[in-house]
């Protein structure tokens, strides 16, 4: 990754963080209906992977914690914001919401309310890419908690047996809600992936260089050999499981924010404080603007529901 790339990525990460802060404010203000899972702490992993992807042929599925993936995939922030707020002008017109961001096409296929539910779907995208023979790959993002779902493990084996170009990205933030990672799995997840027959790497998800090196290598390997691979990225969950959660169970102390760490690297590399400051302000302003724009959208009109009821109800 060039220094320019790093800086651009920092800007995107800052924006993702600012976006989540805006989600949190909107939630506090009662403008978001349910519970929201923010992605603070895993931005570099998400953006690092997306840096290797190609919008014309690759596809990505995500978990309940996927605002960052939608943004990284290039969906307009105001559209994502409107989706989270349940407004029109969003992806679904108020039907989906934060855990079910399901765009019509493009890089991002959707977030998912069922832990692990998105992982088999990525196998389908990988299969489609293989069928089209366009060198595309699929990426499934999921947490270390989700790795314990049967469907996720089945998919690892299936991807190997079928030879699917699929990158499993396990974002290990140490927690599955209040369950510590050591209570989720009895052994390291990367070793497990290897035992399924995959190449697997484990990286510090707060270290952009490491993320970049690993993803670059894994993605190009998958494009070449058509076989799945596994990336585990250790990150810290900056906030609660969901915004506003009382994290009484949490004892992992003060965290180094990966964005601060990247910032320090950039400073060291000679990026001026003014430049960084401008980037940060811009991120903040763009996030606010997205939510302001979304808030202008009307609340969805319940009449759409009647149309759906007719359609899905299937009473001809």
């Amino acid at each position: 990754m060039t220094p320019d790339d790093q800086l651009a990525l920092y800007a995107r990460a800052r924006f993702a963080r600012a976006f989540e802060a805006a989600v949190a404010r909107a939630r506090d203000a009662g403008e978001v209906p349910g519970v929201v899972h923010l992605n603070g702490g895993q931005e570099l992993v998400e953006l690092g992977v997306f840096h290797q992807l190609d919008g014309a042929r690759d596809r990505v599925t995500g978990s309940h914690r996927s605002h960052g993936l939608a943004l990284a995939a290039g969906i307009a922030p105001a559209i994502v914001a409107a989706e989270i707020m349940g407004r029109t002008g969003s992806l679904s017109g108020g039907l989906g919401g934060t855990q079910h961001l399901v765009p019509a096409g493009g890089l991002f296929m959707g977030s998912n309310g069922i832990v692990g539910g998105q992982v088999p779907l990525a196998a389908g995208a990988a299969f489609a890419a293989r069928s089209k023979g366009n060198g595309g790959i699929a990426v499934a993002f999921f947490g270390e908690g989700a790795a314990q779902q049967g469907g996720v493990m089945e998919t690892m084996n299936l991807a190997i047996v079928l030879g699917l170009p699929l990158l499993f990205v396990c974002v290990n933030n140490g927690w599955a809600q209040s369950t510590g990672a050591d209570a989720s799995a009895g052994a390291p997840l990367a070793s497990r992936a290897r035992a399924f027959g995959m190449h697997a790497e484990s990286v510090d998800g707060g270290d952009l260089g490491a993320v970049d090196a690993a993803t670059r290598h894994l993605v190009s390997q998958i494009r070449t050999n058509g076989q799945p691979a596994f990336l585990e990225a250790h990150v810290s969950r900056v906030g609660g499981h969901y915004h506003g959660e009382d994290q009484g169970y949490r004892k992992d102390g003060k965290l180094t924010d990966p964005l601060d760490r990247l910032r320090a690297t950039l400073v060291e590399a000679g990026v001026t404080a003014a430049n960084l400051h401008r980037i940060e302000e811009e991120a903040e302003a763009r996030a606010r603007a997205a939510f302001e724009e979304a808030a202008l959208e009307p609340m969805d009109d319940p009449s759409t529901l009647a149309l759906w009821a007719r359609d899905l109800g299937g009473l001809t």
């Binding site: 978001v32 209906p33 349910g34 519970v35 349940g86 407004r87 679904s92 108020g94 039907l95 989906g96 919401g97 934060t98 855990q99 079910h100 998912n112 309310g113 069922i114 832990v115 692990g116 539910g117 908690g145 989700a146 314990q148 779902q149 049967g150 469907g151 599955a176 809600q177 209040s178 369950t179 209570a183 989720s184 799995a185 009484g248 169970y249 609340m299 969805d300 009109d301 319940p302 759409t304 529901l305 009647a306 759906w308 009821a309 899905l312 109800g313 299937g314």
Partner: protein, 325 residues
């Protein structure tokens, strides 16, 4: 009588049964923190990790663990955080838990309780808001309970642990903030005994779980218009107190069911079908099934509110029925 929420009552009932019976244990996700809705509060501290078992996110294996433990003399209480997650362990529910006693010729008992939550209304979206007790009730071999208040939630749990069949208790999240009166001893509540919550001469209205308060509100309004609505809470779906329902219909001649479950082939259809097959000659008007539309639960507040049946819809349905002569 004490005022309690459903999670408080359930937690208290669990404290009582676990203290009384070493065969009882609790298994599920995030129990150490008291369960995500507080229904496991204080249990892990008191009974320790051997009896309050926190699990990875592996519903198939820990529900199966519950079944196997029940077959081996234990009394497991398995918590499936939201009933929307029953899909990932549905084989263990539909084939393993439901059929085992039958397949053993009745020699094996499964005193297994599956506690789960349900319901729309809190903006949780399509995969955290379902009320799919109809799915469970359609599977032969399962017992299904849908408490509408704290005393029932606790009492049904106690009864469930004494029976030979697996029971799924669906607790409605929309009721979790409401305190309702409960005898502090939380006595067992019998299965298959409906509760008539309000007498009425004109219409029998069966309402389930969070639909009970909606039904009562509608009945209040209709009373002002001179229409007597008899509101019945079936308490359990299997066993079902069909005598109570049919006796009421014999009196009123009109039947409606108010159910947050499936619009097609759910409990509402089952009850309409039962009533019309068994009490056709008593019926003066077409029965009504008041359910959400046949769509997933929408996310946006206005849509979700439109999706959920409310008192106005109940009133409209009943008024129409009264005019149907």
């Amino acid at each position: 009588m004490k005022q309690m929420t459903i999670p408080q009552a359930v937690a208290e009932a669990l404290h009582q049964v676990m203290a009384a019976d070493p065969a009882v244990f609790l298994i599920g996700e995030d129990l150490a923190m008291g369960g995500v809705f507080g229904a496991a509060k204080g249990l892990k501290e008191r009974f320790g990790p051997a009896r309050v078992v926190d699990t990875p996110i592996s519903e198939t294996s820990f529900l199966g663990l519950g079944i196997g433990a029940a077959m081996s003399g234990m009394k497991p209480v398995v918590e499936i955080m939201f009933c929307d997650f029953l899909g990932v362990c549905f084989d263990q529910l539909m084939n393993q838990a439901a059929k085992m006693r039958f397949l053993s010729g009745g020699t094996v008992s499964l005193p297994l309780v599956i506690r789960t939550t349900m319901g729309a209304g809190d903006g949780s979206g399509a995969m955290h808001s379902q009320s799919n007790y109809g799915l469970a009730a359609s599977v032969a071999g399962l017992r299904v309970a849908c408490p509408s208040n704290s005393a029932d939630a606790a009492g049904l749990l106690k009864t469930a642990l004494e029976g030979p069949d697996p029971v799924v208790i669906f607790e409605h999240k929309g009721l979790f903030d409401v305190e309702t009166p409960a005898d502090p001893e939380l006595p067992p509540v019998p299965f298959g005994k409906a509760r008539t919550l309000r007498q009425g001469a004109d219409v029998t209205l069966v309402a389930i779980a969070a639909m009970v308060p909606v039904a009562l509100a509608a009945a209040d309004h209709l009373a002002k218009r001179g229409i007597g609505v008899e509101v019945i809470d079936p308490v359990t779906i299997n066993p079902l107190d069909r005598e109570a329902i049919l006796a009421s219909v014999a009196k009123t001649g009109r039947f409606a069911v108010l159910d947050e479950g499936a619009a097609f082939a759910g409990v509402a259809d089952a009850l309409v079908s039962l009533v019309v097959r068994e009490a056709f000659r008593s019926l003066k008007a077409a029965p009504a099934a008041i359910t959400p539309p046949h769509t997933p639960v929408p996310y946006a507040p206005a849509l979700e509110a439109a999706w959920l049946p409310d008192a106005a819809r109940v009133e409209a349905a009943i008024l129409k029925m009264m005019e149907d002569v």
